[in-house]
């Protein structure tokens, strides 16, 4: 018996086991959730995973699914590791998933070209490839409600307003503390363009993934450069460590801004000194919404959730809910468009292009005031929605600004150039053949 044969035997057993498992009923929709409750990014990944799961589970428990069709939820653990993420994708691909949410820029990038071939839409909510906002070039990828470029322009705009106008930024210095990976480096071109235009200086502070918890050099450099503002693009344990180091090194914390990824735990890490830390956000924090109350009632109280009761309604938990809200809307719209109950990935792609979360719809969903309205279309897979600024008051996040609109003109230039560049470099990038629905 050769080992190769043994390997084949094992593989055959794998196949058999793989086939035996997904014996789902025909009248259900399969929604895989890529999550990470392990690894260095688990701190951010766990509440998001809970939120995503609990909202969809609540729909199952309360309404019997969406449009009378049960959702089959399955988590696949990626550990924020590209290898495992791709493995998860291959594992779920055969079970007719209606959408995948990779929850990691590193996993999203290899999946983007596959989406159109496998006919599985990708929802990379406010992460992933910013250029994929262009629906005409990336019909299968969705990244609402805002791209990182939108986020960066909002932050600069907000800081400019604080200074009394964008022109007052001249001669100022802005530090950019980022995870040294595709994710953290994405906004740099826009930041540099804006710095040339508005005349402020940029200092970059990259943080390597293996040094996320060892940031003293970056903050030491910040003491040397004395940036007037710090902007952070971090994830996982980098966020908490950064807040801690900012407090330690005596950086004025009220000048420290972040994109939308830190959670309560990250701010709490800084202790009392973290009061005044600000970040962008686009949805509410807290559990005071009928839908979230339903989650409490139907899911958490029945012990169907992994989330501790007091974590329900926290920032990243609600972020997970928002993600699931988009999935659910995509499915609901697909059902409406096709008249079918059991929809496929192709239907949900159409559904997503027709997402229209206006206040009336949000109210109907029990999430009135949870978030600003979001309308996606055939050409616009992002929405480029405004986000607001919130501040850590020592115990909770407090909304401190009105919605800040992104600098659409500047973002659009970057976006179009990047999308064109991507399509050119990936020779043979397919032209969009999917028809647009009239509604959009």
């Amino acid at each position: 018996m050769s080992f190769r044969k043994l390997g084949l035997g094992l593989a055959a057993a794998t196949m058999l086991a793989g086939m035996a498992l997904p014996a789902f009923a025909q009248d259900s929709v399969y929604v895989p959730l890529f999550t990470y409750r392990t690894g260095p990014f688990a701190g951010s990944g766990t509440p998001i995973a809970d939120g995503m799961h609990d909202y969809l589970r609540m729909l199952n428990e309360r309404d019997g699914g969406i449009g009378g069709v049960k959702l089959v939820l399955e988590e696949c653990e990626t550990g924020y590791d590209t290898k495992k993420g791709v493995e998860c994708y291959e594992a779920v691909k055969g079970k007719n998933p209606v959408v995948v949410n990779p929850w990691s820029t590193g996993i999203t990038l290899p999946l983007i070209p596959r989406a159109s071939v496998d006919k599985i839409p990708i929802l990379s909510m406010a992460y992933g490839l910013s250029a994929s906002a262009r629906g005409d070039i990336f019909p299968w990828v969705f990244n609402p409600p805002a791209t990182y470029w939108d986020g960066m322009s909002m932050l600069i705009k907000y800081i400019g307003e604080k200074e009394g106008g964008l022109d007052k930024l001249k001669g100022k210095k802005i530090g950019f503390l980022h995870l040294d990976a595709s994710f953290g480096k994405e906004p740099i071109p826009l930041l540099q363009e804006l710095s040339k235009e508005l005349g402020f200086e940029v200092a970059l502070y990259p943080v390597a993934a293996q040094d996320m918890q060892n940031q003293s050099s970056q903050w030491l450099s910040a003491r040397r450069d004395r940036p007037d503002y710090m902007i952070m693009w971090g994830w996982g344990s980098m966020n908490g460590a950064a807040v801690k180091e900012a407090v330690r090194s005596g950086y004025p914390i009220d000048k420290f801004y972040s994109v939308w990824w830190p959670g309560e735990d990250d701010a709490r890490a800084g202790g009392a000194g973290a009061k005044g830390f600000k970040m962008l956000n686009w949805h509410a924090v807290g559990a005071n919404f009928p839908a979230i109350q339903d989650i409490q009632k139907h899911v958490v109280d029945k012990g169907l959730s992994k989330a501790p009761k007091d974590k329900v309604g926290e920032l990243l938990y609600n972020r997970g809910i928002y993600n699931s809200l988009l999935i659910a809307e995509g499915i609901a719209q697909a059902q409406k468009l096709t008249g079918k109950k059991v929809v496929t990935g192709e239907d949900v792609r159409r559904g997503m292009e027709n997402i229209k979360l206006d206040p009336a719809r949000l109210k109907a969903l029990g999430l009135e005031g949870f978030t600003d309205q979001l309308v996606l279309s055939c050409a616009d897979h992002n929405g480029h929605r405004a986000a607001f600024m919130q501040e850590w008051d020592g115990t909770k996040w407090v909304k401190i600004s009105n919605p800040i609109e992104p600098m659409t003109d500047r973002v659009k230039g970057q976006l179009d150039a990047a999308a064109k560049d991507y399509a050119e470099k990936n020779a043979g990038w397919p032209k969009r053949s999917e028809a647009c629905d009239k509604a959009s």
Partner: protein
Amino acid sequence: MLYREAGQFKTTYVADSAIFPLREDRIGLAIIILGAYALAFLGNSFLLQAVMIPFLVFSLAAIGLNILTGYTGLLSLGTGAFMGVGAYACYKLMTAFPGVNVIVWIFVSGFFSAAIGALFGLPSLRIKGFYLAVATLAAQFFLQWCFIRIPWLVNYNVSGALDAPLRTLFGIPIIGPNATPQTRYLVVLTIVIVLTWIASNLVHGRIGRMWIAIRDMDLAAELMGIRPLQTKLLAFAVSSYYCGVAGALLVFLWYGGAEYDVFNINQSFFILFMVIIGGLGSLIGSFFGAALIFILPIVLGIVLPAMFEPFGISVAADVIEHLRFMIVGALIIFFLIVEPHGLARLWQIGKQKLLVWPFPY
């Protein structure tokens, strides 16, 4: 009974020093290769794309590391980075010269990582053992830093990542989203078979014996007239060549686009596991190691939930992941205790048993 060497007489030195002197071995190998090709038409896309292609890619990388660590006795923790050099070189080459067939560039890209590998192999003349292992970590982290910091390497892509443009062989797409798992698998399989064949000729020939002499005692080898510097550098170069090709295959034929993070330190450790569990100084061991270390967790991921299912316990994905870690860790220790010379040794023992079967000795 079926497997015996009695009656097979060698009349020439060439026949005697053949890699597979036994007829049964040759037949077995032919069956395995045929079976592997047949799998392309029998297996489903999950088996090909998520199990077999990565298994072959990792086997190739493990062969590379085995040449360095198993045959020459130089411990390296920079495998991941050397794979990365191959991948980035291949990307640059195939985008700069799209006219040339990409298969050529996959083979050529290995030379770039060979050069870088030899460069980082220079200290090996003075530094030995674990000290050298840590020195190769310098290569790992420095190269990884270069991958992020030099945007030229990714043609100034905004995403900072490698992507896989469409490339064809005889008009059939082999790279890019439209390449089917089947064609990818066939390409990877062929490349791996060719390179394994070359490797097996290398390690069984004069060069391989020089490497082994250096491994067993470099001072004695030097006295016998083997030049340590050249031999060690050659080992680094050949090893990195294999890793480089494996890296290119990994990005373009398996992932289809990747970030620099794919070539991190964990990748290096992962391949070191394969080499040690498979068996140091054994090519077939590299395949065994890759199978055990890569396929086992996948099988566990499928089997574990199925095991708990009948009891009505649904186990969460993260718990499965934790159990996977624990079982893989425990199995590594278990295998080391049971057979410190790796799975290749078990294979040898099995063959020995087959020779005398049905008698005990």
